[in-house]
């Protein structure tokens, strides 16, 4: 079966002054329809650059990105934009403070000509209900919503285009922990009901453990490990991955035991 998204030897080089920085270095991986692939790494790992290339914000310097077997051109067509959508980290900034929730959501419908013009407003209400908000939030401004509610609106906007792939860029790290749990639950439900494919960019491994199917670990622009979430957490092959898991702040003794066993393995490897 053709993967829904495929990266072939993708590299990205940025020129900063006189220097060339290789943010992403020869990365290849496939994403299967309906899976949640976590892209994990620390700052400077290249994970955001990968997300931006998948979204078509800028093209790769080398290599290709294919959607359903077709290589995506460097300037995207509207239909490709429609298929791949984004939820950003900070819901404070991702919604225009001077436009109503409804106007922000409707934009996606207008740009892609989704539904009859006269029924779009109604459709916006349905989208809001789908993410657990009242339909009449349409006419509200973002300032009147809590952080968690705003993130729900941002999720609804990503769904408005009837997208297939959603790039989730640290979607819960700006939220309080109780709100985070509810948002993750919503994301999981939507994935099932809409058959979505997620590319989940994050540094939070405890979230990854519970939402991802597979995990891609990045370090300095290189893909160091890609495996199922079970294998990554029970038997990570790469020392960098072990280090990342070993640094997660945990709250129970069972978690601590898992972490310690990995750290020991790390110490043995170094010896």
């Amino acid at each position: 079966m053709t993967p829904i998204l495929s990266l072939q030897s993708v590299s990205k080089t940025f020129t900063v002054g006189a220097h060339e920085v290789r943010a992403v270095d020869d990365v290849s991986f496939d994403v299967a329809k309906g899976e949640c692939l976590a892209v994990v790494g620390e700052s400077g790992s290249g994970k955001s650059t990968i997300a931006n290339m998948i979204l078509g914000i800028y093209p790769p310097s080398e290599g290709t990105i294919s959607y359903r077997g077709t290589v995506l051109p460097s300037s995207r067509e509207l239909s490709h934009r429609r298929a791949i959508q984004l939820v950003q980290q900070n819901p404070l900034s991702s919604l225009n403070p001077k436009r109503t929730i409804g106007a922000s959501l409707r934009l996606a419908l207008d740009v892609h000509g989704i539904g009859e013009r006269s029924r779009r407003w109604e459709r916006v209400g349905k989208l809001l209900e789908e993410v657990g908000l009242p339909a009449d939030y349409r006419s509200r401004s973002p300032a009147t919503l809590s952080g968690g509610q705003r993130q729900r609106v941002a999720i609804a906007r990503a769904l408005a285009c009837e997208s297939e792939i959603v790039v989730l860029d640290e979607p819960t790290s700006a939220l309080d922990v109780l709100v985070q749990a509810r948002t993750l639950k919503l994301l999981n439900e939507l994935k099932e009901s809409r058959g979505l494919t997620y590319i989940f960019i994050t540094h939070d491994l405890s979230v990854v453990r519970n939402i991802a199917d597979r995990v891609a670990v990045f370090e300095n622009g290189k893909l160091v490990e890609l495996d199922t979430v079970e294998t990554i957490f029970s038997n990570p092959a790469d020392p960098y991955t072990r280090g990342l898991i070993g640094a997660v702040p945990v709250v129970t003794r069972e978690e601590e035991a898992l972490r310690t066993s990995l750290t020991e393995k790390e110490n043995n490897a170094n010896a």
Partner: protein
């Protein structure tokens, strides 16, 4: 609304600004009803009552041909305000559009547009307006053209800087990822977020446009007699100082009140709209 009133109440100077501007605008709008001698705005001669110090019914005195100064100042306000509004109505859309395009599109477009703007900004405003008026005939229309030519680049600068920082906001990225057009992003997403700053600057500028227009006519390059103009009134009266002081002091005060009032109002607006300095 409650917040607006609270800000005005906590800052008496803002209230003064609102009051002064209300006074200026109302007298300009209802000049025909307020002015005791509406016909004195034109070429009227009354040699019986010429050069009279303030006295009833000429509360600001009369000028050298016997016209009521108070009436003339009120009509001068009307012209100043029209000039200010027209100048801004032309300069602001031009400046804002160029600034938005330069700030959002970037690259070569930005380079070319901003260098042109810089050229205009590098010439001292009064010198630019004066040299234009030197070439053109000194009429009200040409005065407006000259002041407009020197005014738009300031809005380009303002909006350019705002657009460049708004461009980094997540909502711009969100609209781009959806596939919205550049026009949409500039005018429907970014522009609304610049409006408070633009409005504040416009209020402050109304005062300055009046001041610049008065400076031009003070130099004889603006509105021509017999049309009443605060700048030419000051210039004319200055020849008869200190004896006929009312010829200079009242139009001078009128300029001061307008400029000062618009400044205070602009500051109040800045606070009400939450614009960062």
């Amino acid at each position: 609304m409650k917040r607006t009133l609270a800000i005005l109440a906590s800052n008496p100077l803002s209230a003064v600004g609102v009051l002064l501007i209300a006074l200026v605008v109302l007298s300009a709008v209802f000049a025909d009803f307020i002015a005791p001698f509406p016909e004195h705005r034109g070429a009227v001669v009354d040699f019986v009552n010429f050069n009279k110090p303030p006295q009833w019914p000429y509360i600001f005195g009369t000028d050298l041909v016997g016209r009521d100064m108070f009436s003339r100042i009120i009509y001068a306000y009307r012209i100043s305000l029209i000039l200010g509004v027209v100048v801004l109505a032309i300069a602001v859309p031009i400046g804002v559009t160029i600034g938005l395009v330069a700030g959002y599109v970037g690259g070569w477009t930005e380079y070319v547009l901003m260098r042109i703007t810089d050229v205009f900004l590098s010439i001292p405003p009064l010198v630019l307006a004066m040299s234009m008026m030197g070439l053109l005939e000194p009429t009200l229309t040409n005065g407006m053209i000259a002041v407009t030519a020197m005014w738009w680049p300031w809005y380009t600068r303002l909006v350019y800087n705002l657009a460049r920082s708004e461009k980094e906001e997540g909502y711009v990225l969100a609209a781009e990822v959806i596939g919205a057009s550049k026009l949409h992003v500039m005018f429907r997403e970014i522009l609304p977020n610049c409006v408070p700053s633009i409005l504040t600057k416009m209020t402050l500028d109304l005062g300055f446009v009046i001041l610049i227009a008065s400076s031009l006519s003070f130099l004889g390059l603006g509105v021509q007699p017999p049309t009443p103009d605060l700048g030419s009134m000051v210039a004319e009266g200055a020849k008869y100082l200190p004896d006929s002081w009312w010829l200079t002091v009242f139009p001078g005060l009128a300029i001061l009140i307008a400029v000062f009032g618009f400044n205070l109002l602009g500051d109040a607006l800045r606070e009400i709209l939450g614009v960062e300095q």
